[in-house]
Symmetry: C2
Subunit: 156 residues, 2 copies
């Protein structure tokens, strides 16, 4: 595991923590180009009442605005949790070079868990994938969120 990967994943965890404090599923992402964070995002699906409000899509939207191109070919995305099919597809569509994620998502993960969209050879772009960077920290934040959610549900 490279030091840079840990550094940027901590930044993605910082974004995930913002989502946590909004009572959103705590997933955060940053996009890095030339050793610089060019875009950030955290899950705001409930807050914005929008199915496109995932951390990865928000970060891709900002990165495209920053780079002024729909092709993010020199970019690496760091995201705390394995992307869903929508976000995995967006990573392929934007031609992001490399994806680094923290922990698996057994219910919707589409970078190996259910399907593997980012490494599918029949699409016109394949992504290099590094898994399990700060896995415990990323998984603990998710577990803590769902534990809190269950406690609140029981109290109601």
């Amino acid at each position: 595991m490279e030091n840079d990967d840990i550094y940027y994943m901590k930044e993605a965890l910082y974004e995930a923590d913002i989502a946590y404090k909004l009572d959103e599923i705590p997933i955060g992402a940053v996009i890095v180009c030339d050793n610089k964070i060019v875009a950030r995002g955290h899950n705001v699906r409930n807050t914005d009442k929008n199915p496109l409000g995932h951390a990865e899509l928000i970060a891709i939207d900002w990165a495209a605005r920053y780079i002024c191109d729909w092709r993010l070919e020199d970019c690496t995305m760091y995201v705390t949790v394995e992307p869903c099919p929508m976000c995995a597809g967006a990573i392929v569509q934007s031609r992001i070079k490399r994806l680094v994620y923290g922990c698996d998502n057994n219910k919707a993960g589409s970078c190996g868990s259910i399907l593997n969209i980012v490494e599918e050879s029949r699409y016109n772009h394949q992504v290099e994938v590094t898994r399990y960077v700060l896995e415990n920290e990323c998984a603990c934040m998710m577990k803590s969120f769902f534990k809190k959610l269950r406690t609140v549900s029981k109290e109601k």
Copy 2:
């Protein structure tokens, strides 16, 4: 093939034609709820320099704003071409009930051609799919666009 499906697919073709005139790959979409078009979109990926600028994502974004919910459970999406993995994933994420599309996309189609994201039983939502409504019209618009593109490329 129901008359309503033909009517709404013609509206999606109208959106695709707007993309065609912008020199964008001619794909259009509408979202229908309670027999009313609640959102429309056409491909603007190059115009907006944004990988999220697909017809389906734009229509989903507007539909969520209209319905004020990330769940589009009572909605049907009509789109001229089989959705890519990003858009197919967004259809699953937004829990759209039914998808109607015109023609297959052999290069990126993810509703049966390459992968089948919308009917994948391991995700938490499956979409009812109706294929090949106004297939010829939808496919002809794509063929005409790529023929024009090749002619322009040769002239350069």
